[in-house]
């Protein structure tokens, strides 16, 4: 026993982990093999008949996995962009240009104590961040990122989105109420008032668009906007787009409508008493929400994953690397070497002061650039979901940038101005938009 303990003590940390994990893995693998051998056929048959289930599970997992890096990216963007607008440098120490700082923030949040203050309603206090985060992430399910790349193509996609998005306010209200703090309470109530008020113009502003599109499926709306950028709904529904943008800003609690967590008034609003990962959920939810809202604006009004102009040289790439057989292997082995050498040659020949290894390094870097560009180019031309995803993310991040930019510029509005704006201006304007659209449709396309 002592000998074993001594041996165990001599192991490094990695060794301890490996020695613990390996046997478990071995047992699990054996069990898995047995299960697959015994029931594999049945499972496969079941999955093949119920593909929607596979799709749903994969989509849900992918969306959950995607949300955290998205939040990290937007948090970094927020830190860096606002810093640059403030004439600061912003994060520049962790990772290249400080890009890992948000990841470090995430880790920090994870490592903090899971603390709940005296007097809170524990159950609700714990549930609130989860509700907020889940409602935000669930909204990602219906967003069509590219042709064929979406979680679920509901025929009531937009309705689902509004319904799920409205659940956020429940979480915020739970947080505000359960925190046992007057600032939180005020923040929660503000968020309830604000989100409910802005739900109405938000929903009404897209009704005109729905009349035009004739569907509520977000995928179908994206498909409707294919072609030139003049086909985008923003040109048919400019007022609707503006109202939607403003209402969506309020819906996402972003500056200038960030009254729920107005730090100079009610310290952090509903999140005052939260710390650690519970706060982290709120934090992530906010930024995922920004992404979702931007994605929805892009989907509805800015053509979704469609390029602003159709690709002028339609190419049907029929690459079948498998047909090369053994040649593929040789190609994979030889092309990098030859490419590097070819690209290194000009450096080496250009000046006698360039040493051979330096030229080789330069050549290798250049080759990588060329290869990556080529692969992406081929993928862009050949795979329409890659092209769609690139366009979609590009447009979405333009809007994310706009949200961050607004945060860097604008002061906050007051609560009565906020509500007045929603009810006195946005609501009539969206109704006007709806009537004009309906009238136009009735005139142009009478039954």
């Amino acid at each position: 026993m002592t000998a074993m303990a001594r041996t165990w003590g001599r192991l490094t940390l990695a060794g301890k982990v490996i020695f613990t994990v390996l046997p478990i893995l071995a047992v699990l693998t054996a069990g898995l093999i047995v299960v697959i051998v015994l029931f594999g056929g049945g499972i496969l048959d079941f999955l093949a008949t119920n593909l929607w289930l596979v799709r749903f599970v994969v989509a849900a997992t992918a969306v959950l996995l995607m949300s955290v890096p998205t939040a990290f990216l937007i948090i970094y963007m927020e830190m860096k962009v606002i810093a640059l607008m403030n004439l600061r440098i912003g994060p520049d120490r962790v990772g290249p240009f400080g890009s890992l700082l948000s990841v470090v923030h995430g880790l920090k949040v994870l490592m903090k104590e899971d603390f709940s203050p005296t007097g809170v309603d524990r159950i609700v206090f714990t549930l609130a961040p989860i509700v907020v985060f889940m409602s935000t992430v669930m909204a990602l399910l219906v967003i069509p990122f590219a042709p064929g790349l979406f979680g679920q193509d509901f025929n009531i996609g937009l309705l689902y989105f509004f319904a799920i998005g409205g659940m956020t306010v429940v979480g915020l209200l739970m947080a505000g109420w359960s925190s046992f703090n007057k600032y939180s309470l005020l923040g929660g109530l503000r968020s309830a008032a604000q989100v409910i008020s802005y739900e109405i113009p938000l929903t009404l502003s897209v009704v005109g668009l729905l009349l035009l599109a004739g569907t509520m499926s977000l995928n179908q709306i994206s498909l409707n906007q294919a072609g030139w950028f003049s086909d985008w709904y923003v040109f048919k529904q400019p007022l609707g787009a503006l109202i939607f943008f403003i209402a969506a800003t309020a819906e996402a609690n972003r500056t200038p409508f960030d009254l729920t967590e107005a730090d100079s008034e009610i310290v952090a609003g509903f999140a005052t008493e939260y710390s650690g990962m519970r706060f982290g959920f709120f934090f992530f939810a906010e930024y995922v929400n920004v992404f979702v809202i931007s994605a929805l604006i892009v989907t509805l009004f800015f053509g979704g994953w469609n390029a602003p102009f159709p690709w002028p040289w339609p190419v049907a790439l029929n690459l079948d690397p498998g047909s090369l057989g053994i040649g593929l292997l040789i190609l994979v082995a030889i092309v990098p070497v030859i490419g590097t050498l070819i690209l290194a040659a000009p450096f080496w020949l250009a000046s006698s002061r360039v040493k051979g290894w330096q030229a080789l390094v330069m050549g290798f870097i250049l080759f990588n650039l060329v290869a990556v560009t080529a692969i992406f180019g081929i993928a862009y031309v050949g795979l329409d979901w890659v092209a769609g995803l690139l366009w979609f993310l590009g447009k979405t991040y333009v809007f994310v940038f706009t949200f961050v930019w607004m945060r860097g510029t604008l002061p906050r509005v007051r609560i009565d101005q906020l509500m007045g704006f929603a009810w006195k201006w946005l609501l009539p304007a969206s109704l006007l938009n709806l009537f004009v659209t309906a009238a136009a449709i009735a005139i142009v396309n009478p039954r």
């Binding site: 403030n86 004439l87 930019w405 607004m406 510029t409 604008l410």
Partner: protein, 230 residues
């Protein structure tokens, strides 16, 4: 304000976007040193003359003149024999008189400790001798002192502080950390009585506070009206 609604906001957005691309004001501190003016007074350092000798001649005028008494001096004397340290500033009030006394070379009486009982210093001196004035063996010193006196008199702690060069606060912290070290004689109820004697108003205060608290609980019945200040 303009007549077109939203123009001001758009202008502001344009301004921030322009600033987005402008050169930044941040100084990346450890790599780039800030441009500190020649006359800057914020750095604390002793100056050397052109021969490399310390310009400070320990006249203590700075410590004496320092209005918030933040300058404290210590070090090795010129022959390299004695460690000179003036201890932590426990009493700021007497500080300037102290520095005058120190400059004149006399010992500084400490009125804050005059209140405490005097001791026969021989045992503690012997103990200090035994432990070679080593502040690292503070616990042993304190235990021996307690064995000698039955408790830890303040005067003895003060003497230990002076002899070993450790701060009084450190010694006090050490002594109060260990539960077997005590500051009062075990049989001593005298001090508690003295304390109670020192603050006769305490009881009055507590009574008034109690009255106030109890009065509030009784929903204000019989409360005096609030016109009288304090």
């Amino acid at each position: 304000m303009t007549f077109i609604p939203g123009l001001g906001i758009v202008k502001g957005m344009g301004l921030t976007l322009r600033r987005f691309f402008e050169p930044k004001a941040t100084i990346k501190y450890p790599e780039v040193k800030p441009d500190i003016p020649h006359k800057f007074r914020g750095r604390l350092q002793l100056l050397y003359d052109e021969y490399g000798a310390l310009k400070c001649e320990t006249c203590f005028q700075c410590a004496q003149a320092c209005p918030i008494e933040c300058i404290d001096m210590g070090g090795i004397d010129t022959k390299g024999r004695f460690h000179v340290h003036w201890g932590a500033p426990e009493t700021y009030g007497e500080r300037r008189e102290e520095s005058a006394l120190r400059r004149s070379g006399r010992t500084v009486p400490d009125p804050a400790y005059a209140h405490f009982e005097g001791i026969d210093p021989d045992p503690v001196d012997g103990i200090l001798e035994e432990y070679d004035f080593d502040p690292k063996q503070m616990l042993q010193i304190l235990e021996a002192t307690q064995a000698a006196y039955g408790h830890l008199p303040v005067a003895a702690l003060k003497r230990i502080s002076h002899a070993t060069g450790a701060w009084y606060a450190m010694i006090y912290g050490t002594a109060s950390y260990y539960s077997h070290l005590r500051f009062e004689r075990p049989e001593d109820g005298i001090q508690a009585a003295a304390v109670a004697d020192h603050r006769p108003t305490e009881a009055t205060f507590l009574t008034s506070l109690d009255t106030a608290l109890a009065g509030g609980r009784r929903a204000g019945a019989g409360q005096p009206s609030g016109t009288k200040p304090n």
